[in-house]
Assembly symmetry: none
């Protein structure tokens, strides 16, 4: 190391390579050293950096190390090369590095903010600080999930994809994934031709957006359930579509209301979350399913069956798509809840002519969906790991949900009808939950009040809580305590 | 097989079940047989198909086989059932089957097919057989790209992502990628705050869709360039927006026409592809850029600058976003052309209030964009590999484009004004290129005729050719030979 010691003084950047075990690679060290100099204004705009040869000689590192480090500085915009003249420090606006995930000092909810879909969406996706607790979450805690399985599948795709990721992929989605999906759906009792009746989408939400955009026109009427996943309202409103609400009962939609609205308003579509309904956790009985389809036939409306929570369902749940065999039903599903939200892999199952039209619509609104994530999901499904993973999740959910229900009742919150399955409980706080949510927000807890799930945004005493709030993590317990306090103050 | 032989005569459809090993399942055979009859008009619309019992008896197959086959015909839209009356042949648009990935026996282009955006989109993404050559391609040959770099980045993400892929990610996109993008844009002379002025999208196409959907209403007027990337027309048409075309000259849009249309039609937006314009390869001069922005200011329209081919530009290209600093210009870019189409990673740069609105629109139409691909792109940008890779691509493109121009002229095709850069040449075939494209299609070569790039779909003698057609791969040379032949036959 004598050589390194010698070079310190003569090295124009004052950089000393650290070769001890455990130190970062030399390239990384040099980059960080330069960024430090820039940050402290020891390197100013326009300054010529030492030549590659000069620095490599003086610092006793290979030329390749210097070239790689300079390339990274160029990539980061802090340096640039002038052909024949070398590398120069670039003029900096400000050495402002993105500090996402921290320093978000703005409050969760400003006093005048509306509890509408865009608000909740923005809130849901805010990076949370340690002090903020998310009782409005729609995903399971990270420690319930299997990130090792996920990352191993990513690496495996990186090892095996070869040149195949270079193109745009297939408009209907990665064909082997469609094969796996077809098998997956067959296990649920639905026969789907992967070539003609399936397409992938960038998550259930994009799938719903595609279906709604290519089916509905402004002024059309659509029936929705009450309560319903709030995204549906935001999407329909954006399309200028009239929504009519059908109360959701424990075994399906209220048939009397459905029939009346269908007869009087000629709706184009009924959007329903049959299996593990969000937010109630309710299901669908066979006779109700039959009557829904009978009414759809009689009044000629489409049924969009959102099956986001399919894999949390108890054994042999009833689905409209299974009964109808995709004649009138369009099925949406995905893997955000069971694998990872950031993968954005979902699918649409529908009859061939609909899939053809939806594939055209998909191409026109964004070409293909990213094959990388589709290959990762395919790998996990094909390896047979998915089934076991989901089984574990379901068992844990069932156990946690029972504890959550007990806790919720011990707080004086009412659960009118128990959920059959799923990750939420839909509780009656016996006070306006929008007011309650504002109180909670002031204390750093984000809640999902009933008004969000109501098509006509009526004040509501209901609240959707994630069952994982009783999980043994400090954050969740803190939230539960806070909620108890708030409930008591009622 | 005596039974089968017997049934041929008496079988109303003339179908004989083939039970030899290696034959397709009987259901499939019956379906294909019916499709053949339909194709040859031996079965006409309205004809009643033999009853299930009748056909099952006469063909010596189970009733279930017939039921399944009929169901598939119904699913394919070529037959329908009338309760109590049986199955009937449906009125056909055309018996076009989507046979993704296999048995593409149908010609590329049927005689009556329109050369419209959906057609070209479907064609572009068709899996090509060995005998089919794609002269309409919008991507570089796979052997020009660096799949090792891509796959190594995928594996690296799989090693380092930990639990971070589990959530939905950030609505504006992966923050470190936005930081890299900001540096990347800074190197192009554009200062962009990665926190407030940047968001990721699932490719440039989705970015354009988001901008158009959240800015335009049916009946609005939008100015487009003539010629223009054909997707723009498809998108605007789907939104019910009126398009007016501004001729594209070598140094930018025709200012006289732009001014006249702006003054007389009050357009909401001008969509332009300033740097390495598709399909011409033209650029933008500083004075024209200035006048475009002056007109935008004066007539109060937005400018959507599609920078898909940014990284193929010569040094220091002129951009509207750079001049205007995102006040009135919305910039779209991505990595489909330089890294991989299937990653679907793009970005929008715009002023903060637009990014906020577009982020809300993004959430509402599909939540976040997949973080996996964004991490892969980030990795490649951060490592400094991207710059070198792009430099190599650009050099190869420049060299190839010169050879292509020579070859094209040797064929008797005219290039009125040479492209400045990029992967296409825009040539005058001196004959209706739609006719030419149909001739080429009959010989297995897909071409992109000028009509596709025209807002009002005027007949055109222009043709967009990929410069890589002169590349040393058998396929491309074959295409060039064929093209020469076709040109000669003129």
């Amino acid at each position: 190391m004598a050589q390194n010691t010698r070079t310190v003084a003569s090295n124009a950047l004052g950089w000393q390579a650290q070769r001890a075990p455990g130190m970062p690679p030399l390239v990384e060290q040099l980059v960080q050293h330069c960024l430090q100099l820039l940050h402290h204004h020891s390197l100013r705009a326009g300054t010529r950096l030492p030549s590659v040869r000069e620095l490599s000689d003086s610092a006793g590192v290979s030329r390749d190390t210097v070239v790689q480090a300079y390339d990274r500085l160029v990539a980061q915009g802090v340096a640039h090369s002038r052909p024949g003249a070398g590398f120069f420090v670039s003029a900096q606006r400000s050495p402002h590095l993105v500090q996402t995930g921290k320093s978000l000092k703005t409050p969760i909810l400003s006093a005048d903010a509306a509890f509408d879909t865009p608000f909740l969406l923005r809130s849901m996706f805010r990076p949370t600080e340690g002090t903020q607790l998310d009782g409005s979450t729609g995903i399971l805690p990270a420690n319930w999930m299997d990130h090792d399985m996920l990352n191993a599948a990513v690496r495996s795709v990186g090892r095996s994809a070869g040149v195949q990721l270079l193109g745009y992929g297939a408009p209907q989605g990665y064909a082997p994934l469609r094969q796996q999906l077809s098998a997956h759906l067959l296990a649920q009792g639905l026969t789907v031709d992967p070539e003609q009746e399936l397409m992938t989408v960038t998550g259930v939400t994009q799938g719903m957006d595609l279906v709604l955009r290519s089916t509905l026109r402004p002024g059309d009427t659509v029936l929705v359930e009450d309560p319903t996943w709030f995204m549906v309202f935001g999407m329909l409103r954006a399309l200028g579509v009239q929504m009519l609400a059908v109360p959701r009962l424990r075994d399906g939609p209220d048939l009397a209301v459905l029939e009346h609205l269908a007869a009087t308003h000629r709706p184009k579509m009924f959007i329903t979350n049959t299996v593990v309904h969000n937010p109630t956790g309710f299901g669908l009985s066979l006779p109700v399913a039959y009557d829904v389809l009978r009414l759809a036939e009689q009044h000629d409306f489409l049924v969009l069956e959102d099956d986001t929570y399919a894999d949390f369902a108890p054994q042999h749940p009833m689905r409209l798509s299974t009964l109808d065999r995709l004649r009138r039903v369009i099925l949406l599903g995905g893997f955000s809840k069971t694998l990872a939200g950031s993968l954005r892999v979902g699918y649409i199952a529908a009859k061939p002519e609909r899939i053809r039209a939806l594939t055209d619509a998909k191409l026109l609104s964004g070409l293909t969906s990213p094959e990388l994530g589709e290959r990762v999901v395919h790998r996990i499904l094909a390896d047979g790991q998915y089934r076991k993973h989901v089984l574990r999740l379901r068992e844990r959910l069932d156990e946690t949900r029972h504890r959550c229900l007990k806790m919720v009742e011990s707080m004086g919150l009412k659960v009118h009808q128990e959920p059959l399955a799923g990750m939420f409980v839909w509780v009656d706080a016996q006070q306006d939950t929008e007011v309650l949510a504002r109180k909670a927000a002031a204390q750093g807890v984000l809640l999902a009040p009933g008004v969000l799930f109501s098509a006509n945004q009526q004040p509501s005493t209901m609240l959707r809580l994630p069952v994982s709030m009783v999980d043994e993590t400090a954050g969740c317990q803190k939230m539960a305590l806070l909620l108890r306090q708030i409930a008591k103050s009622n």
